[in-house]
């Protein structure tokens, strides 16, 4: 009860600031929090990263094994992306099978990577129809303060770019870097009342009405989009979100070696 009164107050506070064009932490509406990216943080993975955006932190690992391709893509490696909202990261996350939130998150991150054709899956074919590299991109959220879509995407992209294909250990010649073609970056815009803002904190997400995640490639072309939450977006807001994603994507892309 006490808690929900505080929530009410906080909600009003955020709304009032937004109406004045301000945010709780003083950022501009199109300003991203401080980003830190570390790679090769886990030796047992072929590639890994630990990414912080503000107080949101994720760890991502890429594991590669040799396996069979899908029958409809016999000459392509396989990609499997999974995000886990473990209870370590938030008092509101629970153990157990994935809930709709984490499934949507996994699938949106997956689409950004898959549809940008970031990983050159044809180069991960060993023997057409028989043997290909299987890539497991596993994302664990360690600390949750909003904007998981962008944090997880960034972590996944950084981990993939750092990965070394373990050819030697599998008797397939020398190791070589993961073959990649581009660096897809997702930027999420949040609608609160009639305003848009990027890289939302958890508090901002709690009062949001709609969300639009836009993933662009190195050319600024669209590769994946996902509108979420039960609000409606005007066509103008959709276009603003796309334009912002393209613009910020250029900056964020530079952070990834």
């Amino acid at each position: 009860m006490a808690r929900s009164i505080v929530s009410e107050i906080k909600r009003d506070h955020i709304h009032k600031l937004i109406a004045d064009g301000k945010r709780v932490d003083g950022r501009a509406w199109d300003q991203v929090r401080e980003i830190s990216i570390q790679t090769n943080v886990v030796e047992t993975a072929e590639g890994s990263s630990r990414v912080r955006i503000g107080n949101t932190e994720v760890i991502v690992g890429v594991k590669m094994t040799v396996g069979e391709p899908f029958s409809d893509t016999p000459n392509k490696g396989v990609l499997s992306t999974n995000a886990e909202l473990i209870p370590m990261a938030s008092p509101n996350f629970e153990s157990g099978p994935p809930d709709p939130e984490s499934i949507e998150l996994s699938r949106v991150v997956d689409r950004g990577i898959r549809e940008s054709q970031m990983i050159d899956l044809e180069k991960l074919c060993i023997e057409p129809g028989k043997k290909v590299w299987i890539n497991f991109v596993d994302i664990y959220v360690l600390d949750f303060d909003g904007n998981l879509f962008d944090a997880c995407s960034l972590g996944a992209v950084a981990a993939i770019k750092s990965a070394i294909v373990p050819a030697k250990a599998n008797g397939l010649g020398e190791d070589y870097p993961m073959p990649t073609t581009c660096t897809p970056i997702s930027v999420t815009s949040l609608q609160i009342e009639n305003s848009l803002l990027v890289d939302p904190t958890l508090d901002e997400e709690k009062v949001a009405t709609a969300r639009l995640t836009v993933t662009t490639d190195d050319n600024g072309d669209l590769r994946a989009m996902q509108k979420g939450l039960s609000g409606a977006l005007t066509l103008e807001q959709v276009n603003t979100a796309i334009e912002t994603s393209r613009r910020l994507g250029i900056e964020i892309r530079k952070l990834i070696r």
Binding site: P100, I103, E104, R114, M225, K227, L229, S230, A232, L235
Partner: protein
């Protein structure tokens, strides 16, 4: 998106493999009130897609902890029956249908006047009987008609359609072959009265110019579909009224629990 643009899916006259033009939707059939047990229902065919939607509620919300004291919650479950696709699908929800269910629930929550029914749940069950690309849009179309058939007050009906890119051209309402071998897919759902976007997903590859064109096509098609939805409801009301009149004339001796 296969991204394989080698396969010729549009001929030199701009005609697609199923005979449609670039900006033409597939033949569509909508029928409201097709099931007896449900409070509202609808059947939709779009090309070779066949989709049923049923609504139960507003009714007591289970489990309790999901109740919202201020409004109803809208829970949509999208499901493909096992034989609706080429390779048999194991019964039960997969990750794809969990995501689609979430998105449809969010969209429907926006249009229903949920404040009218605090603490209740409005449950929408969407079953895809036969799938041929575009089932999430077909499901949305069916869901909002079924909600209206159940007599639940709504801001508007929700038309939906997917636009896509095939052979480097933007085309409306992809069929299965176009979906499999196309270059982009952009399903959208609209609020016709305000022109706002309620659902939007995209995957594949679109330049800004292509996106603009696709969005324009989609918005226009949603208006067409909206008209078909309203038609279906008009036909349904006509039948219901006729039945009601008849019932007034010949009362049955049935003891009706729900009455």
């Amino acid at each position: 998106m296969g991204g394989n643009s080698d396969m010729k899916l549009i001929d030199e006259n701009g005609i697609r493999i199923d005979g449609r033009k670039i900006d033409e939707i597939r033949p569509m059939k909508i029928e409201a009130g097709v099931l007896k047990s449900a409070d509202g229902s609808a059947y939709v065919e779009i090309g070779k897609n066949k989709v049923l939607a049923a609504v139960y509620g507003p009714r007591e919300c289970h489990p309790r902890h999901m109740q919202n004291p201020a409004k109803a919650i809208v829970q949509c479950k999208y499901n493909m029956i096992s034989f609706s696709v080429s390779d048999r699908k194991r019964p039960g929800p997969d990750r794809r249908s969990v995501e689609i269910s979430k998105l449809i629930s969010e969209a429907m929550e926006y249009v229903v006047f949920t404040e009218n029914y605090p603490r209740t749940s409005i449950d929408v069950y969407i079953e895809v009987l036969q799938a041929n690309a575009g089932t999430r849009c077909a499901g949305l179309v069916a869901a909002s008609v079924a909600l209206a058939d159940a007599g639940i007050p709504m801001k508007d009906l929700v038309p939906a359609v997917a636009v896509g890119k095939v052979n480097d051209q933007v085309v409306l309402d992809l069929n299965k072959e176009e979906d499999n071998y196309g270059q982009a897919d952009l399903p959208i759902a609209m609020i016709p009265r305000t022109g706002e976007v309620l659902l939007m997903q995209m995957d594949g590859h679109l330049t800004q110019a292509e996106f603009d064109k696709a969005l324009e096509m989609g918005v226009k098609a949603c208006q067409e579909i909206y008209d078909l939805q309203k038609d279906a409801l008009r036909r349904r009301y006509a039948i219901v009224n006729a039945e009601a009149e008849e019932e007034t004339r010949e009362p049955t001796e049935d003891v009706n629990e729900e009455a």
